[in-house]
Symmetry: C2
């Protein structure tokens, strides 16, 4: 019997030991390259034991390799298989004999490739069911857990760490995984990541159940091309949504896209209206682009939920205030009307600061210290009882980071969600400033409309959660 408990997947993310099957030759092609996986795990400082498994034995990067999993004396929690498809069934049985109940089949050329591959995938599932093994994949880069340095992709990465945080990303494609996104450079706060691959066994329902209970996960962002079992998905999503937001980027929306999905992972995408209505019914929030998949969840990782939809904008340029208000209106936010007390406080700084959007530009250009104006206006606006959330637009330079560093204790006390939009003329300085603000705990965007939309989705989730709790 396979484990159906919600915590049944923890070995995929928190194994004390991992066996990696495949070539130990540095130059092997990626999806057969155990060397690549081990190199990445060492780079990320994986905290458990690593057992390279290859018929040649020997050692790799100072780690003893075993010719067969049966030779390993200690127990092993997880296996990552990067071996030819036809070798997988036998190795699955060997893993079961060794007591390994969690296996990632990274290798490609299963159901997504051919009828022969589909038959082999069915055989994999049968063996797994018989042995009580859970299988992630095939055709997957596997998982990432920055807390223990677990990373199972064999592809060379240009980074060796990511920021720990509250977002769990799952995807049905390597393109939406740690294998194809500059996670370290972006500085996004990550809890767990999982590439589903062909979903022969472990799928979106398992991950929803697991991540709903995972205390480190504050938000789930999930890319799906199909859903294997609609009823199970809806039940799992309903339960998860009471605890944390479930954001879904469902692709294959168009008929042509659904056809493309079928040839990608063998998915039967089905009519989009059915998905749309199911998501609405359970309270899963739909994302509409790659950019939203990556960027929207960040607002939930560090920010409190908004108590309402009254929105303030503080910017250094009037033009961006107008754009922010347009974007806010489109996602259900309403521009806040400041209280008389706030207006008085702002008017003391300048009569031109009393409206929402607060355009600091004209005041700051003549101020002796332009940044001090920002530093006074931000807490004044956020303290206002009529304001539920705010987007702050400022220049992406170290001085802006310092303002927020000084304001952080006060902002934490106020406990209202904010997002930052950074603009500037030097991209690297902007990106470095964004990373530093993200590390301070403020979701920071180089795209204004996305910064605003994130708050709109936070408001939408607040309402969904309230309704679900009633």
């Amino acid at each position: 019997m396979k484990a159906h408990r919600a915590d049944g997947l923890s070995a995929f993310f928190e194994p004390a030991s991992v066996a990696v099957f495949g070539s130990l030759n540095d130059s092997a092609f990626a999806m057969g390259n155990a060397f690549g996986v081990i190199k990445n795990m060492l780079g990320f400082g994986f905290k458990g034991k690593i057992y390279p498994i290859n018929p040649s034995g020997g050692e790799t990067m100072g780690i003893k390799a075993y010719t067969n999993i049966s030779e390993v004396g200690d127990p092993v929690d997880l296996a990552m298989l990067l071996i030819p498809p036809r070798a997988v069934p036998a190795v699955l049985n060997q893993c079961a004999l060794k007591g390994i109940r969690f296996v990632i089949v990274g290798t490609e050329n299963f159901a997504e490739a051919s009828h022969e591959g589909a038959a082999l995938q069915k055989e994999v599932v049968d063996i797994a069911r018989r042995n009580g093994t859970r299988v992630l994949g095939p055709n997957t880069l596997g998982v990432l857990n920055p807390s223990n340095g677990l990373i199972t992709t064999p592809y060379p990465l240009y980074y060796d760490s990511v920021m720990k945080g509250g977002i769990s990303y799952c995807s049905q494609s390597g393109l939406l995984s740690f294998g194809a996104y500059p996670l370290k450079d972006k500085g996004y706060p990550i809890s767990k990541m999982c590439d589903f691959g062909n979903k022969c066994d472990v799928n979106e329902v398992d991950l929803l159940n697991y991540l709903a209970e995972d205390p480190d996960t504050r938000v789930i962002s999930m890319h799906l091309e199909d859903i294997k079992d609609g009823h199970a998905f809806m039940e799992a999503a309903r339960k998860a949504i009471v605890k944390k937001p479930v954001l879904i980027f469902k692709t294959g929306r168009s008929e042509a896209g659904a056809k493309a999905a079928a040839s990608h992972t063998g998915s039967l995408a089905g009519h989009d209206e059915i998905y749309e209505s199911a998501f609405k019914q359970v309270g899963a929030i739909r994302l509409n682009s790659l950019q939203e998949f990556w960027e929207i969840p960040r607002v939930f990782s560090s920010q409190p939920l908004p108590k309402g939809n009254r929105f303030a904008v503080i910017v250094g340029s009037g033009g961006s205030g107008v754009i922010a208000v347009d974007a806010a209106t489109e996602v259900g936010l309403t521009p806040a009307t400041f209280t008389a007390s706030t207006v008085r406080k702002l008017a003391r700084l300048s009569p031109r600061l009393v409206n929402n959007p607060v355009d600091i530009g004209p005041v700051s250009v003549t101020a002796s210290d332009p940044f001090s104006v920002f530093e006074e206006v931000i807490p004044t606006v956020l303290d206002d009882g009529n304001v539920d959330c705010a987007t702050i637009g400022c220049m992406g330079i170290p001085e802006s980071v310092e303002i927020f560093r000084r304001l952080m204790p006060h902002l934490s006390d106020i406990s209202k969600p904010i997002t930052i939009f950074l603009w500037g003329t030097d991209l690297q300085i902007m990106e470095e400033s964004a990373r530093q603000l993200e590390a301070l705990g403020i979701p920071t965007y180089l795209d204004l409309e996305t910064a605003v939309k994130a708050l709109g989705i936070a408001v939408a989730y607040s309402k969904i959660k309230l309704r679900a709790e009633q």
Copy 2:
């Protein structure tokens, strides 16, 4: 009488000499800082003469300063004023006496700030009309022309050059100008840029007329909060559209946004439906976000217009193919059906490459040279008579740049528009690759859906142009 000829604005972009009025003190606040403008112009290698004008005289950065414009012996084409608002009327008259017919009033605190400012702005207009002077502004960073190094912003920039090319950007806010965007790092190909400011005289109609005739401008991307004269705008847009695409990012779409626009530049934004219908009628294409304002025009700078809407996708990941097809469908593109000949050629490489989207991933991971597969597939697909345009998704690394460098002669012969989507795990390498591909002449995006949408808008413009020519 002011000049109404279409080429009447050339002195704003191609002056042989510029007088810059304002403080020559490095530490003066920006909007009063002639020093900053001159420093930027020297940094950009301005090819004309610079005349600093300041009552103290002396010299700045090795350039002789004059206490009054009347002291300058040679003729002066353009003046940039960064002097207090109340000083502007007198200086405008001095400029007219000196024969300067083109003046940028950078200074703020005119109509956007107060009733007093509005009265002063009216006075400026009256003087300009009397003297036959054209005025850009007030409340503007002015203009940028990379061809001659003209740049009039007083703000410190973190760059001193931008790529020359076919895009002209105009905006009603400094945020959407060279003063607040990392233009050099992005590598976008620029013809002219203009910040309208308060549009007391020179406005969107003048710029449309000028840029329509400008041989270096292949596309006009315009941000507007309002339109001063609807009929004149429609007439100018209609004429421009026959020659080049006119893309409009009109903000203040929502009622709340329109209210915010009114307090930003004193604009009366009016109902959005009126704008929407006017744009449709004349064939101006509407953009919907800051990101689109900057990124969509690039497809027109270097690419030929598509002959139809049949779209091909070539990607290294099946997941991205599905997303691209969804995005394509939403912007009116249809997935192309390859001819039998193309299918045969692709099948020779691998039977898994014969569908559109062409997913190279599974083939390239086992190929001895994965990049060679891309290099064979791209021209095969683009040569297909059933394909009008294509988006190619590949990893943002130097090897990808080299593929396109080798393919460029062939791609130029095929003469169909393409866009590139780059993914990767190191942001700086991705950005450097994007710049290099952009410099090769291929619009390159780090956002997949925008890469696809650009082609959709190219198709839309092709149809508009055809209709306009009939």
